[in-house]
């Protein structure tokens, strides 16, 4: 029995290795996925591929004081925040509010007048992007500490005590107790420093007690303002609409690649020869396959977004026309991709291998699985060369930021997606002619 089983296995291995392109693609896929995930996850851990990309935060300095300048320098030096200043002059508060509402900025910080005397920073944030908001808040606090030195810690402690729920008289007493403590600590540090006994320390331990976390958050020396476009459904967040669009684009690529493979089926069953001999132009065959897959894609997108609307309250009604235009363009690009693969492949195994490799790589890098913000800078640059990235940018533009298809940002995404559709369509035609109209 074992002998027969081995003979069968040997035969199958021989067949497997005979299609060299298909075999290589079979190995290339896991290697590519391990590489991409290692790169991205390594960055999340701070190793193996570089650090996370700093998050862009628009900045308005109303104080224009030495203290605010020191703070802005600390922001520039921050590893987690990339401050963005207006090219000419400064943003006004209203402009910043509009930019955040419009999705041009996810975060904006205002250094208010009186900052030098202890006035709070104002952070405008997109309420749906809570993950990045945490990073920004801590980045700002770190910059504040760097700019204000030890004063910031005492300010936070005082602020925390005032809001901690203690009776006011007890809070005042606690604050009065802090003064000698601070003086004592300052003296100890000075002595240790002057005698050369001060070390770098071993760092603190994260305290994840809910009360302590709440205490710290209340103590943050900044006001948090959520800015969202009017009418956005507050039941969803940025990540839900991103995940829905991300999975939709990925499934569109997989489903349409499967559908376009009917070209290979036509070839294998002989009907393609009959179609090629029929009184029509060869381009009609590809156009027919394109139409079939494109319509199937539109149906798939519609079903998925209706599901997301019913289950996750993703708003597909308000700007249905923009959603339709983006979906039509995305389905066209995915269809062209699928037909190019079908026209290129000699075997099903080759079509499977190359399409899975490209789709999964493009989905991982382009943001289908997690937002590109969670990727290292190099990966974010690569993302811009994927269809997935531009399609998701268009979808998020309308689903999250409420833009219409005439908005320049959505138009840019649409333009790139359509250009991909046309380029891949032309490539599909060239490959088809070379493969089936040779000579």
């Amino acid at each position: 029995m074992l002998r027969a089983a081995w003979q069968l296995a040997r035969k199958d291995l021989r067949i497997f290795f005979r299609d060299r392109t298909g075999m290589l693609l079979g190995f290339a896929l896991p290697i590519a996925l391990v590489g991409i995930f290692g790169f991205i996850m390594g960055a999340l851990g701070g190793k193996g591929g570089g650090d996370l990309s700093p998050i862009e935060v628009a900045v308005l300095d109303e104080d224009v004081s030495p203290a605010s300048a020191t703070f802005l320098q600390a922001l520039r030096d921050s590893p987690s925040i990339a401050p963005v200043f207006a090219k000419e002059g400064a943003f006004t508060r209203d402009q910043l509010q509009e930019r955040v509402s419009d999705g041009k900025e996810a975060f904006a910080v205002i250094v208010p007048q009186g900052f030098a005397d202890g006035a709070d920073l104002v952070l405008l944030r997109d309420p749906g992007r809570s993950l990045e908001a945490r990073l920004v808040e801590f980045g700002l606090v770190a910059a504040l500490f760097k700019a204000r030195g030890g004063d910031a810690a005492w300010d936070m402690a005082r602020r925390g005590l005032a809001q901690s729920g203690l009776p006011p008289e007890d809070a005042a007493r606690a604050e009065s107790l802090m003064a000698p403590l601070r003086m004592g600590l300052d003296s100890m540090f000075s002595q240790a420093e002057s005698t050369g006994r001060l070390t770098e320390g071993t760092g603190g331990k994260d305290d994840d007690e809910p009360d302590a976390f709440g205490f710290m958050e209340r103590a943050l020396p900044m006001q948090l303002q959520d800015v969202a476009p009017a009418g956005r459904d507050q039941q969803i967040n940025y990540y839900v609409s991103h995940a829905v669009s991300g999975m939709t684009v990925m499934m569109l690529l997989f489903t349409l690649t499967g559908a376009a493979r009917s070209l290979l089926t036509e070839r294998d069953r002989g009907t393609l020869r009959r179609l090629l001999a029929a009184p029509m132009r060869p381009g009609s065959i590809l156009l027919g396959k394109f139409l079939m897959a494109w319509l199937l894609g539109l149906v798939l997108v519609s079903v998925l977004y209706v599901f997301a609307w019913l289950v996750f309250h993703v708003d597909i009604v308000s700007r249905w026309d923009t959603l339709l235009v983006i979906s039509a363009a995305t389905a066209a690009a995915c269809t062209s991709f699928a037909i190019a693969i079908a026209a290129w492949a000699r075997t099903d195994k080759q079509a499977d291998g190359v399409s899975t490799l490209i789709i999964l790589s493009m989905s991982a890098l382009g943001g289908s699985w997690f937002p590109t913000i969670a990727m290292p800078p190099a990966a974010q640059t690569v993302a811009k060369f994927t269809l997935t990235y531009w399609s998701l940018r268009g979808y998020q533009g309308t689903l999250w930021y409420g833009k219409t298809w005439t908005d320049p940002d959505v138009l840019l995404s649409l333009g790139v997606v359509m250009a991909v559709a046309v380029a891949l369509g032309v490539l599909a035609m060239v490959l088809f002619r070379r493969r089936y109209l040779a000579g």
Binding site: R269, G270, T271, R273, R274, L275, L276, A277, A278, P279, M280, R281, P282, L437, A438, G439
Partner: protein, 253 residues
């Protein structure tokens, strides 16, 4: 100027797969209302030659005239509509019924009266009784009959039949032959390839024999027998005399 009864003229046609010459300077004519046989051992270049005739492959050199006009893969659809192809495979859609297959191809091939063409196709294939069943439930013979019926939907002037009787039972073969003979009586021209010498002897007016891509003989079966030096011999013996007895498909390409 071509003679009036010549429908297809092939002159010095050559086709290469890379360095390998599959069809080597073949010249022949097919007349109107004629069933023209194309014979050859395996790998002789018959299917490649048929593909060139059907406009599926562009020859490396040589020329092809169909009804007085040059015929290439870029030939206009109106002219291509006068040609029919019965591929070696049963090139129909298993998931559709015979009626649906015929209707689809009738529209694609530009049949003048689609319902009439479908009805005629069903009758020709002998599938009236099972017209609405999926093709995947049909026997091999039924599929072969449908394969032929599809190619004739638009009443082409010339039909290319590439081994149309492979794997069919005697009844289906008889049915196919009856149809081919009826079409000849109606004036249709056909190019018929097969490995069955009996079929070719029975159906074809003239025969061309290809071997290693070259034309080694062309004429009526009697003319070929004389040329092979075996006057009065049957087609099989003539064929073996002209092409030899060694296996062709085992030779290195």
């Amino acid at each position: 100027m071509l003679p009036m009864d010549t429908l297809l003229e092939v002159e010095e046609l050559t086709y290469r797969y890379g360095e390998r010459v599959a069809v080597d300077r073949v010249s022949l004519e097919v007349h109107r209302g004629e069933v023209f046989g194309l014979l050859g051992p395996n790998g002789a270049g018959k299917t490649t030659f048929i593909s060139c005739l059907a406009g599926l492959l562009t020859p490396a050199s040589g020329s092809l005239w169909f009804d007085g006009a040059v015929f290439t893969p870029r030939t206009r659809p109106e002219q291509r509509a006068r040609l029919g192809l019965v591929p070696q495979e049963t090139a129909v859609y298993d998931e559709l019924s015979a009626r649906e297959n015929l209707a689809f191809f009738a529209r694609l091939l530009g049949a003048a009266d689609e319902p009439a063409a479908v009805a005629a196709g069903l009758q020709l294939a002998g599938l009236d009784g099972r017209a609405d069943e999926r093709v995947q439930t049909y026997s091999g013979g039924m599929k072969r009959r449908l394969n032929l019926a599809v190619a004739l939907l638009h009443r082409p002037a010339l039909t290319l039949l590439d081994e149309p009787t492979v794997g069919v039972d005697p009844q289906s073969r008889h049915h196919l032959f009856s149809n081919i003979e009826a079409l000849r009586r109606e004036g249709h021209a056909m190019v018929y390839t097969s490995h069955s010498m009996d079929e070719v002897q029975r159906l074809c007016d003239r025969v061309a024999i290809l071997d290693r891509g070259r034309l080694v003989g062309c004429g009526t079966p009697d003319e070929l027998a004389v040329r092979a030096g075996v006057p009065g011999a049957d087609l099989e013996r003539t064929f073996l005399e002209l092409t030899g007895r060694s296996l062709r498909d085992a030779e290195a390409g």
